[in-house]
Amino acid sequence: MNGPGPVADQPLEPAAQAPQALPRGKQRSFEVTLDNFSGPFDLLLGLIAKHEMDITEIALAKVTDEFISYIRRLRRDGEWALDEASEFLVMAATLLDLKAAKLLPSGEVESEEDIALLEARDLLFARLLQYKAFKGIAGLLSRQLAEEGQRYPRQVPLEPQFAALLPELVWRTSPQDFAALAAKALQPKPPAPTEVGLSHLHAPKVSVREQAGIIASRLRAAGPQTFGVLTADAEGTLVVVARFLALLELFRAAVVAFDQQSPLAELTVRWTGPESAWSAERLGEEYDNAEYDDAEYDDAEYDEVPEGH
């Protein structure tokens, strides 16, 4: 077992958390409060990476629940923390995978599958660190751009006597080509997106509500199942994340319960809702109602994953 050593033994620098160019210029931070941990989400991740806190001791559902209420609180105050929200999806997926990997019987590696899982865990740590590395670099870029922005280049028009000396302009554009250029340039640009398509991704669009429906019918049909089983057929990370979010939604709607015998035991999900007359349609309203018209949030990236059509 090669373990997470080479990666996880390295300190995750809090210094990598460069000052961020938050749209509103106001520092916001998502704080989690758990039985055994209280502090910024980023720090939590740092601690996990350093193995100072065992992933399975963290009530993942609770973290997510707190995050969702945090987002809801912000929305009520008229603010949207979209950068944080999208970041959270990355983190949630990673945490989830980490947790899944950690649920292996410890110490004994018996099958190739186990080895693959352990290697996957290393890769996940690496991915987490890679993401954080780019975050750190983004902070550096931000500072450098701001500092460099203080200097203005000299770029003045040539004096007429010099402009007259410029080599004769090469012109090879016909009136028709020129009109085509104009038509292209004048075409209305796509409006600032309030919702971003996933069409460019090779992954299909995944609906949280749809995934909730799948989970609900399986739990009702087959009884309690582990999260691993529930996501065993997921085609990709996006589906795992959607199922994960769906579970939290179901939990919030009080139709599922989670059982975990001990900190290292497997997480089991069981259905506690009505046996019939239950529909996933009622779930996920906070995603559907996502409205943010502030142009500064052009880079919104959040609502695409949970949005279902």
């Binding site: 006597q161 090469v170 012109w171 020129f178 075409q187």
Partner: protein, 211 residues
């Protein structure tokens, strides 16, 4: 350009120039070096937050320095390659006249005898929307067009066409040189846009949406 020449500095940012290296004089130099049209003493005084009289004195001091007076310029007291000139009531830094032959040679060897795609597209917007203010061109193009507009002006393809009565913004139009290069007799001979924009006949209505 500073819009208001009132000494009351907007956004209360009157910087403590005296404490900076080079002080007010260097600050004045910084402005003169990067402005692309001459600035008046009043504008400079307002931006620097100092009396116009002080600006006038500093301008003449800089002018003398650049001309090599008092050995203050190059260590050898030689003039610099640039000079500070006042034209039509405004001040700006230019290359020194003595070096016109060198500058000419540099300009003649310019590689950019061809317009960039960005310049062509901007020219197209101006041609079909003239007279048009720069801000609207920017809005349509979705990018800052300052340097491209400068190139087109320099190339004589566009010219200023008065100001917008409402906003006071400078308007741009194409020139007869543009018509000549495109090979048409007048703007009315520009090919219609419609064939390129199926279903979009009322382009005027779209401008406000073109962001």
């Amino acid at each position: 350009m500073a819009e208001d020449a009132s000494p009351a500095v907007p956004d209360g940012a009157a910087p403590d120039l005296e404490s900076l290296p080079g002080g007010v004089k260097a600050a004045l130099e910084a402005v003169l070096m990067v402005i692309d049209e001459p600035a008046t003493e009043a504008e400079l005084a307002a931006a620097l937050g100092v009396p116009a009289e002080q600006v006038r004195q500093l301008l003449h001091q800089l002018q003398a320095e650049y001309d090599g007076a008092g050995g203050a310029s190059g260590a050898d007291g030689a003039p610099r390659g640039f000079e500070l000139r006042s034209i039509a009531g405004g001040w700006r830094i230019f290359s020194r006249g003595d070096f016109a032959p060198v500058v000419s040679r540099f300009v003649r060897e310019d590689r950019t005898a061809r317009l960039t795609q960005a310049a062509l597209e901007t020219l197209a917007v101006i041609a079909y929307r003239q007279p048009v203010p720069r801000a609207r061109i920017s809005a349509i193009r979705g990018v800052n067009v300052d340097s491209v507009v400068r190139t087109l002006l320099q190339r004589g393809l566009i010219a200023e066409a008065g100001t917008d009565p409402e906003s006071g913004a400078v308007l741009y139009r194409t020139t007869s040189y543009f018509l000549e290069r495109l090979g048409i007799g007048s703007i009315s001979e520009l090919p219609e846009l419609a064939p390129h924009l199926p279903g979009l006949e009322h382009l005027g209505d779209l401008d406000d949406l073109a962001r």
